[in-house]
């Protein structure tokens, strides 16, 4: 007999626990929202604008974050943060601050001894103290990263600047906007696709599930005090796409089970479907999780936020496919679907479309609007498969 993580014939009452699960999920999201004032909704430089400098000290001796902080503060860089990058004894540090490379106008005027104010007017109309201005030495004098490197080297020891990332406020705002747009559009497209492939009834449930995953992941992210940046956005989008996989497996089975019988209790069908697909849901998540964990542990610091967000997302996505997606389907159905007759009665009306309360409104569980050959084929297959279905 093959090795099975889920023995066949399980019959857990997943749907019955929906109150607890919804409560837990809502609680996590609320905690996340409550966490915003406490821990802050931290945007990385990608979205908020700012500069990140990653330095590595070459000497083997221990380097103290405090020393670096002193140097940074000594340069008058406002709101800077210094964190060790990687393990406890790593020599890499991440220095972050708001604002760009150039020392701001006011500070520059103070530090640049001989520079007369008229000079910054330059020749060109409306010229700012942009990087294009002044000669190289003057640029360096105002270049925080250059100053930082020079002073850290002097005070602490030889180092290498490994990475510099600067995002201006304008680009930051654009990336922020694009990020939100991307999440919105992805959700919308998926809503359309699910509505198109299943019935319109299924789509809201699926989107509830995927919004759930994104919200929970984001809430946990806030509670962990981590920053949102482009990598996390990429992870969130991947979660949107991926968390749906498990939901689709369950929904496919729900549809199949409903096509099988003329009389059913929706709650019972949902429960049965979740149970039947339980091993699938867990195994697919497990393999993906294995790969992502490898990335989390071995992929290096730069990719870690992505891997961590993915890890959380996969776990949450699996949970939601089992505990959230189907109950929300049930809830939506009870709330907006067959309010008058109840799900039990609806089945009699249209055996071919058991999910449709008013038969003419949506004739088939599959979208009838796509008369593609392939679809027709699957339909007949589904039909022929009915009698031989197990259990």
């Amino acid at each position: 007999m093959p090795f099975e993580i889920v023995k066949p014939g399980t019959h857990f009452d997943f749907i019955g626990k929906w109150r607890i699960c919804v409560a837990v999920s809502v609680a996590v999201v609320l905690l996340g929202v409550a966490g915003i004032p406490l821990r802050g909704f931290r945007l990385g430089i990608d979205f908020a604008g700012g500069t990140e400098v990653q330095v590595r000290f070459l000497d083997p001796g221990a380097v103290d974050e405090g020393d670096i902080r002193n140097v940074v503060n000594g340069l008058g860089i406002p709101n800077a943060s210094v964190t060790r990058f990687g393990g406890v004894d790593s020599h890499e540090f991440l220095i972050k601050f708001r604002g760009g490379r150039e020392v701001e106008e006011a500070a520059a005027a103070k530090s640049a001894s001989g520079a007369a104010p008229e000079q910054s007017d330059g020749e060109e109309a409306g010229a700012e103290t942009g990087p294009g201005q002044g000669d190289a030495d003057e640029v360096r004098e105002k270049d925080r990263i250059f100053l930082l490197e020079e002073n850290l080297e002097k005070r602490i020891g030889p180092l290498e600047v490994e990475r510099v990332e600067f995002v201006g406020p304008k680009v930051g705002a654009e990336l922020r906007e694009d990020g939100l747009k991307a999440i919105g559009i992805a959700c919308l497209l998926i809503l359309i696709y699910i509505g198109f492939r299943f019935s319109v009834r299924y789509a809201p449930g699926a989107v509830v599930a995927l919004l759930h995953d994104v919200l929970i992941t984001a809430s946990l992210w806030i509670l962990l005090g981590l920053e949102f940046d482009l990598r996390v956005l990429a992870a969130l989008l991947a979660i949107i796409g991926y968390s749906l996989n498990d939901t689709i497996i369950v929904y496919d089975r729900i549809r199949e089970n409903m096509e099988l019988r003329t009389k059913y209790d929706l709650k019972e069908v949902l429960n049965q479907s979740v149970n039947q697909t339980l091993s699938r849901t867990l195994l697919t998540s497990f393999t993906t999780l294995a790969a992502v964990l490898a990335l989390l542990v071995l992929g290096g610091e730069v990719i870690r936020p992505f891997a961590l967000a993915m890890t959380i997302g996969i776990v949450v996505g699996t949970y939601s496919s089992i505990y959230i997606a189907s109950p929300s389907l049930l809830w939506l159905e009870r709330r907006f679907g067959t309010a008058s007759s109840g799900p039990r009665a609806s089945a009699h009306e249209a055996p071919k479309a058991p999910r449709a309360p008013k038969a003419p409104k949506s004739e088939a569980p599959r979208p009838p609007k796509v008369p593609s050959a392939k679809k027709a084929k699957t339909k007949t297959k589904a039909g022929s498969r009915r009698r031989r279905r197990p259990s």
């Binding site: 099975e4 066949p8 490379r101 001894s113 001989g114 000079q119 330059g122 020749e123 060109e124 109309a125 409306g126 010229a127 990087p131 294009g132 201005q133 190289a136 030495d137 003057e138 600047v161 990475r163 510099v164 990332e165 600067f166 201006g168 304008k170 680009v171 990336l175 694009d178 991307a182 992805a186 497209l189 696709y193 482009l230 990429a234 989008l237 949107i240 749906l244 996989n245 496919d252 699938r280 195994l283 697919t284 393999t287 993906t288 999780l289 294995a290 790969a291 992502v292 490898a294 990335l295 542990v297 071995l298 992929g299 730069v302 990719i303 992505f306 891997a307 993915m310 699957t378 197990p390």
Partner: protein, 524 residues
């Protein structure tokens, strides 16, 4: 299609892509030389090979102001010709104000303004007419400035002396320039300068601005400014010069600039040549001002202020205590011309080559370990079927890299993450199929029909699941930038190949064994 043909064609596709994928392990020079290796391969993103990604936005409003300045000059000449006096012109932001001395001039001024098709009246009353550029012209002016900026950067990048191969200068959207320098981690100085070269006759000079100011108790004369010559290291002011605000001749007339070495003073210098128009102006200038000082000013800083000893026309020399690199940089900048307007760095991401190499190493490690974990689990859990799935997974990975090499896509660190994610997700399709087959077997079906049913029933589930992920990957491709786009690319390609791997390759494996043979049970 017969099994033999299917097997042959699928194997051929996989082998071809595997060949393309594995070619990446050979260095590029090797690939270019050996006929049996493909030329195309993956490009490494800047985050993996190290390099700088720079987004610059030129100050396009300044271009508009400049254009208004030109119009202002022309207009004041025209008004003078027409003997309309006392009219004050001034530019404020993107507006040109015409302040009338007497209301009676209004009609005459309007008459002149009517010839300016590029201007439109914003407001007009008895004392003042306010104008701005027409939207169309404004657009054109900005477009022209944008193209000039691009051109200057391209020339600076392409200059053989810059020596950064494969640098890229492209336009991004309407008002941005994207510059990429692979392999270096510090923005070269030459990309930070405007490159505005001016020659100005020195009206007066002294050791410091204070001393200079002392000579003019009533303030400096109208239309002059003070510029400084500084010591290189300390930035101490060596000398302050009083010069006119407008240049006597500017770098626009240069035709060439080369690095030179003066063996007498053993100093590096830049030899330049004027074009014919410039030579004429320069000859006149030097002829009229023999023995005067001529300040050579780049971006507002005096490089040197030599004495004019004789009439010079075509060529000249710029000295300024240069190091050889300084001189070379200056020559490049002068050859490329000045940026017409100031620019601002909007985004900069630079990654050292060492960090890039680290990322590649850890990325490969993560992929290998991820692959081993998944393969180990699948074969352990599904036995022979798991072996099929693992083969499909390997083929899948080779196909992703092969396809990306074929299209010479860029591999970034998030791209590697996408690859690892693909490894994890690709097996999902097989899991769905295998679980279905197990279910059919449990229901009492014979092995072969169970396998067939497993595949057919799982097909749409697999397609649905993968299409939704593909949708998000495509959205990310559309809205993502830089390295994140790389993630979207590998993920999209990975989804396509993993569907192929699961539905075609794994199925083919089952068709080979058990195939049409009668088997007691399936190893699943």
């Amino acid at each position: 299609m017969s099994l033999r043909w299917r097997l042959a064609s699928v194997t051929a596709v996989v082998l071809l892509l595997a060949y393309l994928a594995l070619a990446n392990f050979f260095p590029e020079e090797r690939r270019a030389q050996a006929w049996y290796l493909p030329d195309q391969g993956l490009r490494l993103g800047l985050d993996l090979q190290g390099g700088i990604h720079l987004v610059i936005s030129p100050d396009l409003e300044a271009a508009v102001a400049q254009e208004l300045g030109h119009i202002e000059d022309g207009l004041s000449r025209r008004l003078e010709e027409k003997k309309i006096t006392g009219v004050q012109l001034f530019v404020e932001g993107d507006l040109l104000h015409v302040k009338l001395a007497e209301a009676s001039d209004a009609e005459a001024v309007r008459e002149v303004l009517r010839d300016y098709e590029t201007l439109q009246v914003v407001k007009s009353d008895a004392e003042r007419i306010t104008l701005r550029l027409t939207d169309e012209w404004r657009e054109q002016v900005q477009e022209r400035a944008m193209l000039q900026v691009l051109e200057v950067y391209r020339r600076r990048v392409d200059d053989p002396q810059t020596g950064i191969p494969e640098s890229v200068v492209t336009r991004q959207g309407r008002d941005r320039v994207l510059i990429q320098f692979p392999g270096i981690s510090r923005v070269p100085d030459i990309f930070r300068k405007t490159g505005h070269l001016e020659f100005k006759l020195v009206k007066d000079a002294d050791k410091s601005e204070e001393l200079l100011r002392a000579k003019y108790p009533d303030g400096f004369p109208e239309g002059t400014e003070v510029v400084f010559e500084r010591e290189k290291e300390t930035r101490r002011v060596l000398r302050a010069y009083l010069v006119s605000k407008t240049a006597d001749i500017s770098g626009d007339y240069l035709s060439d600039a080369r690095v030179g070495f003066d063996s007498r003073s053993s100093e590096w210098q830049v030899n330049f040549t004027w074009n014919s128009e410039g030579a004429e102006i320069f000859a006149k200038l030097t002829e009229a001002h023999i023995d005067d000082l001529l300040a050579i000013i780049l971006d507002g800083q005096v490089y040197s202020a030599p004495q004019i000893r004789a009439r010079i026309s075509r060529s000249g020399v710029i000295t300024g205590r240069f190091s050889s690199e300084d001189a070379a940089d200056l020559a490049v900048i002068l050859r490329a011309g000045a940026l017409p307007i100031s620019v601002k760095i909007e985004e900069e991401r630079s990654i050292g080559p060492a960090l890039g190499a680290d990322s590649i190493r850890s990325g490969i490690w993560a992929s290998v370990v991820g692959l081993l974990l998944v393969v180990g689990f699948t074969t352990g859990y599904y036995r022979l079927s798991g072996v099929y799935a693992s083969l499909a997974l390997l083929a899948n990975l080779l196909m992703v890299v092969g396809l990306m090499s074929l299209f010479q896509a860029t591999l970034t660190l998030p791209g590697i993450a996408g690859l690892v994610l693909t490894v994890g997700m690709a097996v999902d399709a097989n899991v769905i199929i295998f679980e279905r087959i197990r279910e059919e077997l449990r229901a009492g079906r014979a092995p072969r029909p169970a396998i067939a049913a497993g595949f057919s029933k799982a097909t749409w589930t697999i397609l649905d699941a993968n299409i939704t992920t593909l949708i998000t990957a495509l959205v990310l491709f559309e809205y993502g930038t830089g390295p994140i786009k790389g993630f979207a690319v590998t993920l999209s390609v990975g989804i396509l190949t993993s569907v192929f791997a699961a539905l075609v390759i794994t199925r083919l494996a089952f068709a080979v064994y058990p195939g049409t043979r009668y088997v007691e049970q399936v190893s699943i």
